[in-house]
């Protein structure tokens, strides 16, 4: 168990407090962006809200969509589409903001739709293919399997890295 923690628990800021029996362990929130399904360990997730008005902040990196007011707290939001260099789409009723806790501050991730919370056993979590054919899997830490479906488990550290 301990080794697993080290294996993919690094982006989980709470991991050091988790007991091995922690109920959030192995639980992932899955969401879709374009045709792919991604997963983030639920212990990093604070809440999910439906898309709301976003205030643009000028002169910032393209994937930073702006800031939102979450009950008095100012939270920057990042469009995962823009981060993955996918074309923009109109936000609709299914568009959600997943609020994650990252490095002691909150961030919102805009996703096309949120699917479910699912459990993925350790043996179903695989390393991404190691052939360095392209650098497009740079944000993916692991690949989870659930039945016939594949879930790309995100590396929040890399996803949220900024250029400054």
């Amino acid at each position: 168990m301990v080794t697993d923690d080290q294996e993919y628990g690094m982006y989980n800021s709470h991991s050091e407090f988790d007991t091995p029996e922690d109920t959030t362990k192995g639980q992932f929130l899955t969401f879709a962006v374009e045709d792919e399904v991604y997963g983030v360990e639920i212990s990093s997730i604070k809440e999910i809200i439906s898309i709301c008005e976003i205030t643009k902040v000028p002169l910032t990196e393209a994937h930073i969509k702006g800031i939102i007011n979450l009950r008095g707290e100012i939270i920057p939001v990042i469009d995962i589409r823009a981060r993955f260099l996918k074309p923009d789409v109109e936000y609709d009723d299914l568009t959600c903001i997943v609020v994650v806790e990252y490095a002691r501050y909150s961030l919102g991730l805009i996703v096309d739709r949120v699917n479910e919370v699912m459990h993925i056993d350790d043996e179903n979590i695989l390393m991404p293919p190691n052939a360095k054919l392209s650098h497009h899997n740079q944000y993916i830490r692991n690949i989870g399997k659930s039945g016939d479906n594949v879930i790309l488990l995100l590396d929040l550290d890399k996803l949220l890295e900024t250029e400054h």
Binding site: K56, V57, P58, L59, G72, E73, P76, Y105, L107, H164
Partner: protein, 692 residues
């Protein structure tokens, strides 16, 4: 003393002590050139309170030390001796205070206050004896040296008018150990109060608790103090619930024995019916008090409480929480009153009530915001002590001028700026200001001046520390920087500002000798580090031979500003009102463009650059026609530009919030704020348009 409330009492005790010591320090330093009577009274009162609280909490080291100082000021107050060496007096009192402070620090760290104050007490006594020896008229100075536990005390100054007082004291419900509280009260009455009798008589046995709880604690005594003084003193009693104080007829020439005989009578009357007061009473105040007690005891209680405690301390995190909740309240109010389901309905009274609700919410919001703000005065006045101590040690003559100490900043900010200010002042005194004889030789006034000023400017808070000393030694700093290998470009290319900023590097000191104040190169480093934490900056300007000016620029973070909200391409922005000189509609004939494409505008004979905010921020759906939008003339220091925006929305007070750390610094934006309807508005950093 029971353990159950000891922690809470300790916390309260250390908090009160710290406040008192701060106040005392201010009084003492102000009085260094000679105390006025009211200052002496004030100091005496503070020392008395410290002594009382400390002995109640059984901290002997504090109470004996403060008792000695109290004696000293008692003597000053009663005999008003001439030719007092105030400077030595101040030294002694400050030393005593430091001792007390040290002990309190120990207590708050959970250690035992075991310091030995006997040296200090001996010095104080010696000084007092010296004073007494100096004024020959002093005969009855046996006064006020021992606070004995015997209830009936000997009168110390019989020549003054004696008044008799009756007091009925009730302690708060559940304060426990009423007999001990009463005993402490009697014990702490001080030396001005004599012929004390009380009911119940025996306070040591626990049998006294019940009668005190049921009937209150009755106290009668004689004193030279006035009604108000006595009242104030009694109101300081811990866990006091209500106090009914009456003054019997003044009795100027009374002999002690006679009085002693009368006292039990009075006590009996008071015991029989406290609310009807003493029949021979001729003091209107006591009648009022008695009537009030009879008519409405609960109201009396409320009045007493509010006058006893006007300020409470609150944990800052609770205030943070309150501020966040406030934000939620504002948003849900907007969601309710602007609910789309209401749109089709005719709701006349609903809208009226909703307006009232919004008004109240706005008022709460203003209050919540202002609660977090505290003036800089506490931080500033602490500097008087530093200046004084350093002057003594370095034999310099320097006065500290303080301006704008009423400027308010957020609580978090004051915590971070006290150290930087202190280090800069130390630096100015130690390195900047010359010795008096050198100053005279240079044709400067003998007394050096350090100016400490705070002001709101362009939405920032500026703290300026300016001395009239010799200024920074450019060559010395340069040599030192060169030796330390800090230069990154040819020597000749460094500007004065860049050279000056070397002094903020860790370990950088041009002082060859390490003094007790500076030379280790640590202080200035602290300045930079602390300011970085709150996102501030420091600029040094120095004129050789004339002095150095440090300007600390503290960002808006969490501060409240008056803002003008403007509209730009559908988004709202806020400009700090202090930066706005005027706003006006531009006319095409006043606008011209230079060959580089820079637009300029002529206003009353002066020409200013036009900055199109939409171009700076890359907003594409804003108004382009200069005649259609609005020009806002902005000022930053001595520079002025005209900012072009779509339209003005209105003026309001806003709480500044930082953009998330994730976004970092954005040029031209200093933060953001939540508008009343929950929308976010970015705050424009006017300074950002100027330093390109």
């Amino acid at each position: 003393m029971a353990d159950f409330d000891r922690d809470a009492m300790l916390e309260m005790f250390t908090f009160e002590m710290t406040l008192l010591l701060e106040q005392l320090e201010q009084n003492i330093i102000q009085g260094e050139t000679g105390y006025t009577m009211s200052e002496i009274n004030e100091i005496f009162r503070i020392m008395h309170t410290i002594k009382g609280s400390a002995s109640m909490m059984l901290f002997d080291s504090i109470s004996t030390c403060s008792h000695a100082i109290e004696d000293l000021f008692f003597y000053l107050r009663e005999h008003n001796p001439e030719n007092v060496d105030y400077s030595t007096l101040t030294d002694i009192v400050l030393a005593g205070m430091d001792f007390v402070r040290n002990e309190i620090a120990k207590i708050s760290h959970g250690e035992k206050p075991d310091g030995d104050g006997s040296d200090i007490i001996a010095t104080i006594k010696e000084f007092l004896n010296h004073l007494k020896g100096g004024s020959s008229s002093d005969t009855d100075s046996s006064s006020a040296t021992v606070s004995d536990a015997v209830p009936v005390k000997k009168s110390s100054s019989e020549s003054r008018v004696m008044n008799k007082f009756n007091a009925l004291i009730r302690f708060q419900d559940g304060c426990e150990m009423e007999n001990v509280r009463a005993y402490t009260l009697v014990h702490n009455l001080g030396d001005d109060i004599t012929q004390v009798t009380h009911s119940p008589m025996d306070l040591v046995s626990e049998e006294a608790i019940e009668p005190i709880r049921a009937n209150g604690f009755e106290l009668s005594f004689s004193s030279v103090l006035t009604y108000d003084e006595i009242k104030e003193m009694l109101e300081r009693t811990i866990y006091l619930d209500s106090l009914a104080l009456t003054m019997a007829s003044p009795d100027a020439s009374a002999v002690a024995e006679q009085e002693a005989a009368e006292v039990p009578q009075d006590a009996a009357i008071a015991a029989a019916d406290a609310s009807s007061a003493v029949s021979s009473d001729n003091d209107p105040k006591s009648i009022d008090t008695a009537k009030m007690v009879a008519a409405n005891p609960s109201m009396e209680d409320a009045n007493k409480k509010s006058s006893a405690q006007k300020v409470i301390s609150v944990n800052v995190s609770k205030l943070d929480q309150l501020l966040n909740l406030m934000g939620e309240l504002v948003i849900s109010e907007a969601m309710v009153t602007q609910n789309p389901e209401l749109e089709s309905l005719e709701l006349e009274s609903f809208h009226k009530e909703a307006r009232q609700l919004r008004k109240i919410i706005n008022e709460i919001q203003d209050n919540v915001m202002s609660m977090r703000m505290i003036p800089l005065s506490t931080t500033f006045f602490k500097m008087h002590r530093i200046v004084r101590d350093m002057c003594k040690q370095l034999s310099k003559d320097i006065k500290l001028d303080v301006i704008g100490e009423e400027t308010e900043v957020d609580k978090n900010i004051t915590e971070h700026i006290a150290d930087p200010i202190m280090h800069i002042i130390r630096n100015s005194i130690d390195h900047g200001i010359e010795m008096p004889q050198d100053r005279v030789a240079k044709g400067k006034p003998e007394k050096g001046t350090v100016l400490l000023e705070a002001k709101n400017a362009g939405g920032d808070v500026l703290i300026i520390i300016k001395d009239d000393g010799k200024g920074l030694d450019r060559d010395k700093i340069m040599t030192k920087a060169k030796n330390a290998g800090l230069l990154r470009k040819p020597e000749s290319e460094y500007t004065d500002k860049e050279i000056n900023s070397f002094i903020f590097l860790p370990g950088f000191s041009t002082n060859a000798q390490v003094t007790s104040y500076s030379g280790r190169g640590v202080g200035m480093d602290v300045v930079n580090n602390n300011l970085e934490v709150i996102g501030g900056s420091v600029i040094v300007d120095s004129v050789p031979g004339e002095g150095t000016t440090f300007t600390l620029k503290i960002p808006l973070t969490l501060a409240i500003i008056e803002g003008m909200t403007i509209l730009m391409g559908g988004a709202k922005y806020t400009i700090p009102i202090v930066s706005i000189k005027q706003s006006f509609k531009a006319k095409n004939e006043d606008i011209f463009t230079d060959p580089d494409g820079n637009e300029m505008i002529k206003v009353r004979g002066e020409v200013y650059n036009v900055v199109r905010l939409c171009d700076v921020f890359g907003i594409d759906n804003a108004i382009r026609d200069l005649e259609e939008g609005i020009m806002i003339m902005l000022e930053n220091g001595d520079q002025t530009v005209c900012l072009f925006a779509d339209e003005l929305v209105g003026e309001q007070q806003v709480v500044v919030k930082t953009l998330s750390k994730y976004i970092g610094k954005v040029r031209g934006i200093s933060g953001c704020t939540l508008l009343g309807n929950g929308d976010i508005s970015l705050i424009i950093d006017v300074g950002g348009f100027f330093d390109k």
